[in-house]
């Protein structure tokens, strides 16, 4: 992949600066990206690489400077515009949506043209196959491993055959086999003339892949050079601003006659079997292997976080999982999810595990805490604006140092580091290695799992290579070369992966009823089915007591009451899918009936009736827009915004009708109440609306975007979802369904009464929650909501039919909600083990 001088410049960043509240993240950076060329971007964590790429991909606008894309000048891009212009980005933290399935993630992020002319499943399968991702398209992304999420992110980026492909540390979480596959894919793209910007910490990868390299330091461009014309030493010097004596600290020298301080004998647990480890004081133990072969599970078991059989002894005493838990410090691989509390400060994150050391009486000594935290953070040279800054404002490497600080502050019995340098820059890496080495020299057993064989070679004294949960080879100092590890891992894996694949295939073919049931229970439709069962059981019970339960009159009157609640709850579901809530639905329904009571009376002309309906719709749209504008533009929370409108609408209704007045036209009432046998016509409309909305939710871009926004607003924005528009739309849709509900309420109460309708706010939320839609947004079903609405009305009716004491009305509802909440959260509790 020699650079060709004639390659054209496809992207040019000119004089880009970016400030975050006055602090410069980038200063006057210019960059030219040419087609058919891999342009590596190097720099320490916090050097500004990710910020620069966020500007290039439209996620962040620059403070100063502009962009030229294929010769066209732009002040700033948006994610949608960038993707139109053929810029695709693989984010360091994948912009995938955990509540959506793999296929839906592809569909919401990619233009329709990709799926044109073929079945979506086939296109999706092809895209996954391209990056070697072997997972079901229908799997929820939440259940994927980090590596799988990264591969999915890459699959999305490659799908559009982009002109410019930005890869932000794509290999950080990947195992060796995936990395090789990725490189092949990149090579293919280059051959097609794609320009690639490649951000990495691994110099070896730069040598292997890049044509041109640019180094950033502290937000400034140091140099752009052809890779062939610059040495590793020069690059390192530019990256960290000083010469590195050696990346790795000196290894431990065995002391004759010493006894092991860590002896692990035949431990087995979920994901690994029969592992034995022996470490002498001062030794660092490495765990090698392709990602996902039991390394993380092993570390977790060693930390006492999961159950295992076998014995673990430190300094001669055998320790149970309970004793290890908290005493052994584990630095998890998934920093974002498990390693740090993003919203807490640097100090809090660092001090969390060691609070007992700062005790003064029953309280914490702030002084002791600050002294210890400051010293440790200082010794790790954590770069943070302040010790009280939220951890989320730190770069990846600095976050990892905070995790390290927490481990050290807790005076651990053992240190277990899972991928400790993932996403950490070269300078910080060598500092982390030094810290681990010092801890080890102090007699604390240190175990490091890493997918970077080079790192294990340099850092560790003894390396255990794992494959399929077993140690396939033990490499002692001198023999633990990178090649040896890869060979051991890869030769073992080829066979094993095949076996696993066959097993999985067989498992799929012979899926037992229990397996199917389990998969179903985790799915979205389980709540609806459970509600259905409860409804049938309840109906059967009542029918046993009173045969008139299924009389036409009863069915008809139950279903007509369901209609008002059902329509309003559909609207509520739409809003909740975005992670919002609409408290104004009840009063809005009341207001619409009050409005109708001025227009739709006995003897009023048709035109007046139509005008009334139009007014109701307009009011609904206005309320929806006001609700969402308060949320998006005035930055109210959904509860505050819709509570404001709730109160305002209620007041407005009373201004219009201070006392109940204005009877609704009886012919209209009869029309709305039309029944086919026992089934009201409007109930059929409700069913159709439910099914229609459900279809849109699953199969249309609108539905994917709705759930994407609820699942993770930031990720949704990065993949080009118009977040504000989607949310405004959701609140307007909610208000329009309230309109349908108001029509039902109108004939139900038959008069303009300002005090009516308010109760629908709470009942609609209850119906939605019963139906299994998450209050956090991102997942749920309209079908479940409708079942929830029917069940609520059925319970109401049951108290009369069973002649229950009125207390039961409350008890039954409370029991239903409680049981639903417990069952649903149990079903959703995802297993940590991956």
């Amino acid at each position: 992949m020699a650079t060709n001088e004639s390659n054209s410049v496809v992207l040019e960043l000119r004089g880009i600066s970016k400030n975050y509240s006055g602090v410069p993240a980038l200063t006057d950076v210019s960059l030219q990206i040419k087609s058919g060329e891999v342009h590596a971007l190097l720099g320490e964590n916090g050097a500004g690489k990710s910020t620069l790429m966020n500007i290039a991909s439209g996620t962040t606008p620059p403070s100063v400077g502009d962009l030229l894309v294929s010769g066209q000048r732009y002040d700033a891009l948006t994610p949608a515009l960038a993707s139109q212009l053929g810029i695709a980005i693989v984010h360091q933290h994948p912009a995938v949506l955990k509540d959506l399935t793999v296929l839906e993630n592809l569909q919401v992020a990619l233009p329709n043209s990709i799926f044109k002319g073929a079945k979506a499943e086939e296109v999706g399968a092809k895209l996954l196959d391209r990056v070697g991702l072997k997972i079901s398209l229908l799997q929820r992304v939440e259940d994927l491993t980090i590596a799988q999420k990264h591969l999915l992110e890459i699959a999305k980026a490659l799908a559009t055959s982009p002109k410019i492909l930005i890869l932000d540390e794509p290999t950080a979480a990947l195992g060796q086999d995936s990395v090789e596959l990725l490189f092949k894919l990149v090579a293919k793209e280059i051959a097609n003339g794609t320009a690639v910007i490649y951000i990495t910490h691994r110099l070896a990868e730069v040598r292997q892949l890049a044509d041109v390299v640019t180094v950033l330091r502290d937000g400034k461009k140091m140099q752009t050079a052809k890779i062939a014309e610059i040495t590793d030493a020069d690059l390192l010097a530019q990256i960290i601003g000083r010469e590195l004596s050696s990346a790795f600290p000196a290894k431990h020298k065995m002391v004759a006659g010493s006894t092991p301080n860590l002896v692990v004998t035949n431990i087995s647990g979920e994901g690994f079997t029969d592992v034995s480890i022996e470490a002498y004081p001062g030794q660092i133990i490495g765990i090698a292997g392709v990602v996902g072969n039991g390394q993380s599970q092993l570390l977790r078991a060693l930390a006492g976080q999961t159950a295992s059989t076998g014995t673990i002894s430190i300094n001669g005493s055998v320790l149970s999982a309970k004793e290890l838990h908290g005493a052994a410090a584990l630095m998890p691989a998934d920093r974002q999810r498990e390693g740090v509390m993003m919203r807490m400060s640097v100090r809090e994150n660092a001090a969390l595990a060691a609070l007992k050391n700062f005790k003064l009486g029953g309280l914490l000594s702030r002084k002791k805490e600050l002294a210890a935290v400051n010293e440790t953070l200082g010794s790790l040279s954590v770069k943070a604006p302040s010790i009280e800054a939220p951890v989320s404002s730190l770069s990846g490497g600095n976050q990892q140092k905070v995790v390290m600080a927490r481990a050290l502050l807790s005076n651990p019995m053992m240190i277990l580091a899972d991928e400790p340098t993932q996403g950490v820059d070269v300078g910080a890496r060598s500092e982390l290695y030094e810290i681990l080495r010092t801890a080890s020299a102090n007699g604390i057993p240190v175990v490091v799992a890493s997918s970077d064989a080079k790192e294990l070679e340099g850092l560790c004294d003894t390396v255990y290579v794992m494959s399929r949960g077993q140690v396939v080879q033990t490499l002692h100092d001198g023999e633990n070369r990178e090649e040896a590890m890869i060979k051991a891992a890869v030769t073992a894996t080829t066979k094993i992966i095949r076996v696993e694949r066959e097993n999985r295939q067989r498992a799929l073919e012979n899926e037992t009823i229990i397996d199917k049931g389990r998969r179903f229970l985790k799915g979205d439709y389980a709540p609806a089915v459970m509600l259905g069962l409860v409804m049938v059981v309840l109906a059967a019970y009542i029918l046993g007591k009173n045969a008139k339960y299924l009389s036409d009159f009863n069915i008809g009157s139950i279903l007509i009451l369901v209609c008002a609640l059902g329509f309003i709850a559909i609207g509520q579901t739409t809003v909740m899918m975005t992670g919002g809530i609409d408290l104004s639905v009840g009063p809005l329904a009341g207001l619409m009936v009050v409005i109708a009571s001025f227009f739709i009376n006995d003897g009023s002309p048709v035109l007046s009736g139509l005008l009334g309906l139009a007014t109701m719709i307009v009011v609904g749209v206005v309320v929806g827009v006001v609700n969402s504008s308060l949320i998006r533009f005035v930055k109210f929370t959904a509860i505050a915004a819709t509570l404001t409108t709730y109160i305002a609408i209620g007041g407005f209704s009373f201004i219009l009708r201070s006392a109940p007045e204005g009877y609704i036209n009886q012919d209209i009432s009869k029309l709305v109440n039309t029944k086919f046998g026992p089934i009201p016509a409007m109930f059929i409309v409700l069913i159709l609306a439910t099914v229609g909305m459900e279809y849109l939710l699953r199969k249309s871009r609108w539905g994917w975007q709705l759930r994407a926004v609820g699942s993770n607003e930031e990720s949704a924005r990065r993949i080009g979802v118009p977040v504000t528009g989607t949310i405004i739309g959701a609140y307007v849709v909610s208000s329009l369904f309230v309109f349908l509900g108001a029509i039902m309420l109108m004939v139900q109460i038959g008069v303009g009464d300002a005090s009516q309708g308010v109760g629908y706010t709470l009942t609609s939320i209850t119906a939605v929650v019963l139906g299994g839609t998450s209050l956090m947004g991102g997942r749920g079903t309209y079908v479940g909501t409708m079942f929830g609405a029917i069940l609520l009305i059925q319970v109401m009716n049951a108290t009369v039919f069973l002649d229950l004491n009125q207390t039961w009305q409350y008890l039954l509802q409370a029991a239903l909600i409680l049981v639903a909440a417990v069952v649903y959260s149990l079903l959703r509790s995802r297993k940590n083990a991956q």
């Binding site: 229990i514 049931g517 389990r518 229970l521 389980a526 459970m530 069962l533 409860v534 059981v537 309840l538 019970y541 009173n546 008139k548 339960y549 009389s551 009159f553 009863n554 009157s557 139950i558 009451l561 008002a564 609640l565 201070s658 006392a659 109940p660 009877y663 009432s669 004939v747 139900q748 109460i749 038959g750 008069v751 009464d753 009516q756 109760g759 009942t763 009305i793 109401m796 009716n797 108290t799 009369v800 039919f801 069973l802 002649d803 229950l804 004491n805 009125q806 039961w808 009305q809 409350y810 039954l812 029991a815 239903l816 049981v819 639903a820 417990v822 069952v823 149990l826 079903l827 297993k831």
Partner: protein, 365 residues
């Protein structure tokens, strides 16, 4: 292991619901006492039927006493084989659902306290159309007798007003400053009461009305009543009579007179045990404190039940369709009775009801 736990949890929903339903008995069913045919009231006909009684909001002691009065009345007629009761719990949709449910269950007649007023009319109409004898009472639901329901048994609030007016004229022949308190703005009960006492106190030179007209708005809320009364005490140096259609709600505010060094004035209002006891405790210290009450109307439901049962069982339909609250206490004339106070029962109860104080007290348990 995990999966078993999950499956078990999944079934809990269905099981809990079933157990809850199976575990409860028919708590609110009245057992009609067997009455000999000889003392069968004329409104109790020969045809057997079941009766439904529904409240829009049944959560206070007045409603408990009223419901018990309704059951007591039903028990006088052996033709009624069952009485169902449902409480709308302040939720209009539940109140509608209750009526629908009773109609579906096949009651012969339904007696409804339509708290939501006109909003209940379509449900009443539907019950009537389904052939069920439908009798709303106390709160007017709009509509008309015979077309939207069988008959509305209202309370005759004009009569209450007339009774108050007569008493005021007797005790203040030379005129008085009158403060009138009623419920929500524009409520028809207050308007009717005003009509009643204005028809008696025709000499507008002698009888002056203080404050907001036609009445001070209290929403029948004791807290609001206290605010309104406190303000009025400060504003008007001379208040001779307070007229109120919810006597017990005055008790919290009356000590304001004593605090400002004035005597509690005369009250023309509705009864309540707490008010009677307050009078007994304070009359001696307040020379101007006189009390006259009309019955608060727990027995309004009895007439409604009679109307409903008569139609459903083929009995003689009472000609009376309006409940006229009888005079109850008068601290001046002692007729029909002196002021009553029973400290052995709750202040929340109503001694004007046919049911005894002890029986009412038993309902609260």
């Amino acid at each position: 292991m995990i999966s078993h736990r999950k499956l078990a949890a999944a079934f809990t929903g269905a099981v809990v619901a079933t157990v809850l339903l199976a575990g409860c008995s028919n708590g609110s069913t009245a057992t009609p006492t067997d009455t000999a045919a000889s003392d069968r009231p004329s409104w109790c006909g020969p045809n057997e039927t079941t009766i439904g009684l529904t409240d829009g909001y049944g959560g206070n002691s007045w409603r408990l006493v009223t419901t018990a009065a309704g059951k007591d009345e039903v028990a006088k007629c052996s033709s009624v084989t069952d009485l169902l009761y449902a409480d709308g719990q302040g939720d209009t949709q539940k109140a509608i659902s209750d009526i629908n449910g009773m109609v579906a269950k096949g009651v012969g007649a339904i007696v409804v306290f339509p708290d939501s007023g006109q909003a209940m009319l379509p449900a009443l109409r539907a019950a009537h159309d389904a052939g069920v004898v439908t009798v709303p009472y106390r709160v007017f639901p709009g509509g008309a007798d015979g077309t939207d329901y069988d008959v509305f048994v209202g309370a005759d609030f004009v009569t209450d007003g007339v009774n108050w007016g007569n008493w005021i004229q007797t005790n203040f022949p030379d005129g008085a400053n009158i403060l009138f308190l009623s419920g929500p703005a524009g409520n028809s009960q207050g308007v009717d009461e005003r009509k009643g006492f204005e028809s008696v106190l025709t000499d507008t030179a002698k009888y002056k009305y203080l404050g907001e007209q036609p009445f001070e708005v209290t929403n029948w809320d004791p807290a609001k009543t206290q605010q309104v009364l406190t303000a009025a005490i400060a504003k008007y140096p001379k208040i001779d009579v307070i007229v109120s259609d919810f006597g017990p709600s005055l008790v919290g505010a009356l000590p304001e007179f004593t605090k400002s060094g004035r005597s509690i004035p005369a009250l023309a209002t509705s009864d309540g045990n707490v008010l009677g006891c307050f009078f007994k405790d304070n009359a001696a210290k307040n020379p101007d404190f006189k009390l006259m009450t009309v019955a608060t109307g727990n027995d309004n439901v009895r007439l409604a039940i009679q109307q409903a049962v008569a139609r459903a069982t083929g009995g003689t339909v009472p000609t009376e369709t309006q409940f006229k609250a009888p005079m109850f206490e008068d601290s001046v004339s002692m007729t029909p009775s002196d002021v009553q106070c029973d400290k052995s029962i709750s202040g929340d109860l109503y001694l004007s009801a046919q049911m005894s104080g002890a029986d009412q007290q038993a309902l609260l348990k």
